[in-house]
Amino acid sequence: MIMSTERIIGKISATEKYPSTTDDFYFWTDKGEILSPFDIVKVKHLPNDETITYGVIEEINHVTDAPSHFTNYISSDFGDTADNIGNMNRLGMNYVKAKVVCNTGNIYSPVLDGKQVSLCTAEDIKTALGLNEVKNPIVCGYLQMYKGNEALKIKVELNANFLIGPEGAHLNVSGISGLAAKTSYSMFLLNAIQQKFCTEDGGDVAFVFFNVKGRDLMAIDEPNTELKDKDKAIYTEELGLQPLPFQNVTYYYPYDNQRPSNVLTNADPKDVERQRGNNKAFTYKFPCENYIDKLDLLLANEDDSTGTMESCVNYIINKQGNFKNVSTWDTLKDVVAQYANGSATGAKNEILPSSWKKFLRIINKAVDLQGIFNDNVADYERDLTTIVRNNLVGGQVMVIDITLLDDNTQGFVFGSVARAIWEMKFDTERNNVPKKVIIFVDELNKYASNDTPKSSPILHQLLDITERGRSLGIILFSVEQFRSAIHDRVKGNCATSAYGRTNAIEVSKSDYRYIPKVYQNMMTRLSAGEYIISNPALRSLVNIKFPFNTYKQFPNG
């Protein structure tokens, strides 16, 4: 790590129009000085230069003494495009706006005009951002600052209490598809958490991942053989992590008897068989008798403004009418069909046959098309929620593949598992319930977007997790393309936000209003592997990078 020389790069400039304030200050610097937004600078401050005020660069402006573009046009001999007209270039300099991050003496009166501004050492930067002596540190990447010989690479650690509770919890990652590497960043963080809490601290954290894209997460316990030495060096030397894949991983594939290996997945059947052979992969099913009380989850995305579907579900869950002895999906369909065509015997109910017809369509669509709604669970197959409730322990990683399921069924799987985790936390009979369970869900917009019906049980589940999960130890790591599309209360309760590359339309939304314009523009230019992080323990937004993932990658999905 190269140490900065604390070189003086300019002086504070406080003018009538642009004064120094409690929040920010301006300084001038040479036009050849290479600085970037997010770089941190320091200024000696009151009393008697005994304290230091740190500022993070927000805007860099280049100005000359030309009052108008017309002046410059004339300076080029009225439009001559030749280079180097005259013996000198116009006098110019850069002026930089920096936001006050902190003062070492807690003095927040504005920095004074004419004070020297200098680059920081690594220690300065850690002090400025609150990265010094972080308790319960979890590596969340590294930041790069300055250019040339003064370049610095600094490990960024977050206090785990502010990432996975109890002080603050939940992470939201946003960014456009492909360019933002959202899943990669989430996995980097989760790997760091597993290394920290499952190796060093005895394994009090369990992980439940939902795989929604290709084979992304279906080999996270296998090493990335293409990981370059320089990336390995970043893991070991810069970040203090082992370049190892996830440990103690179990994969769960949805059952489908029409597909090779009887699993509905994008994974290579050979890989699935190999994982099965190693006792790492299982097929999951939802037997009716265990899930009939979760039928509401199938209606998560259905428009049910009159509440009739909810009435149907309640009727079934309460085992009213002919649903008293229903224990298989086929029987359920038959009985619903009876109500739909008016042939049901016994006591009359108040639900119209037309409502039952609609409900039947939903049930049929799920049960007929998705093989996971199956009542026969063999020994080598698993009932997902039972596994979660009874077997999920600290240090374990469950990867549940839902890639090829339809949207309603994906919601059903996610909702069932989330509900099972919630139930597990209240299970007083188990004595090995993990202290924390981190749920990783991609495409959060499917379950908690602004357009999700307010009655959606999955939305309610997510609101429960984000609003009350922190104290219970249920932590949500969620990912979506557009943060602005996510339900306010869900994203609002995420203590940590990671902003990857996005587009100009997205940053014009109100979610980004508090982010300085320059940073907003930077968000549209971030490269893959680059994030802007906001966390309560950090004093400022931080632009971080992370190395390639340590587990097996499938470039083509």
Binding site: G32, D65, A66, P67, S68, F70, T71, N72, I74, S75, S76, D77, F78, N84, I85, G86, N87, M88, N89, R90, L91
Partner: protein, 402 residues
């Protein structure tokens, strides 16, 4: 009444009375190229027909600076010097049965260096750091009647400074002090027409102006003492080089010595009297100057200035720009001067052409929009002027000292 005037009012030889009149700035912006209010009018040409100050003796009126020379000439000028002063009438004082103005001035003389086309900085000089700043007070000579004026001025100035430091927080914290007390003449040939009601004020301002030109000469001297000027490191001095020793507060011997400092110095004036010189035929140059084509110059003429102890100068006029957009016929013409150390040896025409080509290049970029005289300005000179002006104390603060 402020600190200094309080002291003057209560500590003077004959109990002269200060009137506490309004404090006003005396500066106005003279923006016309054709000027009769500059040093040109104070100098007297000796010959009726112009004699060339360059070695090309062809009897022509103008010389076109070749485009190839403009493009290819290496930069000659590395140093740029400008003097600037602000004057203020701070009060009126009754002496006898007359009322005289008390005029105060801020003088800033600065020199900048341009080592390459992207760097422009204050000249690195040990004595004064490339900038000389002074605050002076110009009082009527009747204010002082006893002893040597210099001794009195020095001791009185010191007393004022002690009073200022003791009573003014700004002055004591910033080390602001009066550098010199000048005494202006209230009669004699240098004082304008007695019917001119501003004659005392102008005389007071002239004293401050002289002090400024002295500072300019001292700064040029510093450059030479530091060996900063050479054949590839010339100085452009803003304004005329025709200093008048009679108006100087420097002693004559030192003044004469300093004239040898001007071998690599070109004086450039933005405003001038176009009728000052005559061409080789004895006709006034004004018509030739007005008709100069873009990047054309007049021939360089010898000019013997009586006011400068009979020193000989080479003077020529140069049009800096293309003429399509100029406001007047003189608005992009500058007057160039060099001191002929040996009047019998004219300057090489190639040198004058190269200097002219360089001056044309120095005219870019322009300060259009920032200075109404942009067409006549040389950019580094404009920057030096801006640098000097940035060292002025704010007028309100300055006047509060009084």
């Amino acid at each position: 009444m402020g600190t200094i005037l309080e002291y003057i009012n209560s500590h003077n030889e004959s109990g002269f009375k200060c009137y506490s009149t309004k404090k006003t700035s005396l500066d106005d912006n003279n923006i016309d190229t054709i000027s009769s209010e500059n040093s040109d009018t104070d100098t007297v040409p000796i010959d009726t027909k112009g004699k060339f100050a360059e070695d090309d003796g062809r009897l022509i009126n103008t010389v076109k600076i070749p485009n190839s020379l403009i493009i290819n000439t290496p930069p000659y000028f590395r140093y740029f010097l400008d003097g600037s002063r602000h004057t203020y009438k701070v009060d009126d004082i009754a002496i006898g049965n007359k009322i005289f103005p008390i005029v105060a001035g801020q003088i800033v003389v600065g020199c900048c260096c341009r080592p390459n086309r992207d760097t422009f900085k204050k000249a690195d000089l040990e004595n004064d750091g490339g900038i000389r700043k002074k605050i002076v007070i110009s009082l009527p000579k009747q204010f002082h009647t006893k002893g040597k004026p210099d001794d009195f001025a020095r001791s009185y100035c010191e007393q004022i400074n002690q009073h200022l430091a003791a009573t003014n927080r700004f002055a004591s914290s910033r080390g602001t002090r009066i550098s010199k007390i000048l005494f202006y003449k209230t009669d004699g040939p240098t004082v304008a027409d007695v019917t001119d009601k501003n004659r005392y004020k102008n005389s007071a301002i002239a004293q401050i102006q002289n002090e400024m030109t002295d500072e300019e000469q001292l700064l040029v001297n510093d450059l030479c003492m530091a060996n900063k000027l050479s054949s590839d490191s010339w100085l452009i001095k803003d304004g005329s080089l025709q200093y008048n020793p009679r108006f100087s507060n420097i002693d004559q011997a030192q003044w004469n010595n300093m004239r040898s400092n001007y071998k690599y110095v070109v004086g450039v004036s933005k405003s001038f009297d176009p009728d000052l010189l005559k061409n080789h035929e004895g006709k006034k140059l004004s018509q030739i100057i007005a008709n100069l084509k873009p990047f054309e110059r007049t021939k360089a003429y010898k000019y013997v200035s009586e006011h400068s102890n009979g020193m000989t100068f080479a003077v020529w006029y140069l049009r800096l720009r293309k003429s399509d957009f100029r406001e007047t016929h003189f608005s992009d013409v500058i007057k160039c001067e060099m001191l002929l150390l040996d009047p019998s040896h004219p300057i090489k025409t190639s040198v004058i052409d190269a200097i002219s080509a360089n001056l044309i290049r120095e005219a870019y970029p322009v300060c259009f929009g920032s200075d109404t005289r942009w067409a006549n300005h040389l950019y580094p000179v404009y920057l030096t002027e801006t640098f000097c002006k940035s060292h002025y104390i704010d007028s309100n603060i300055f006047l509060s000292l009084f």
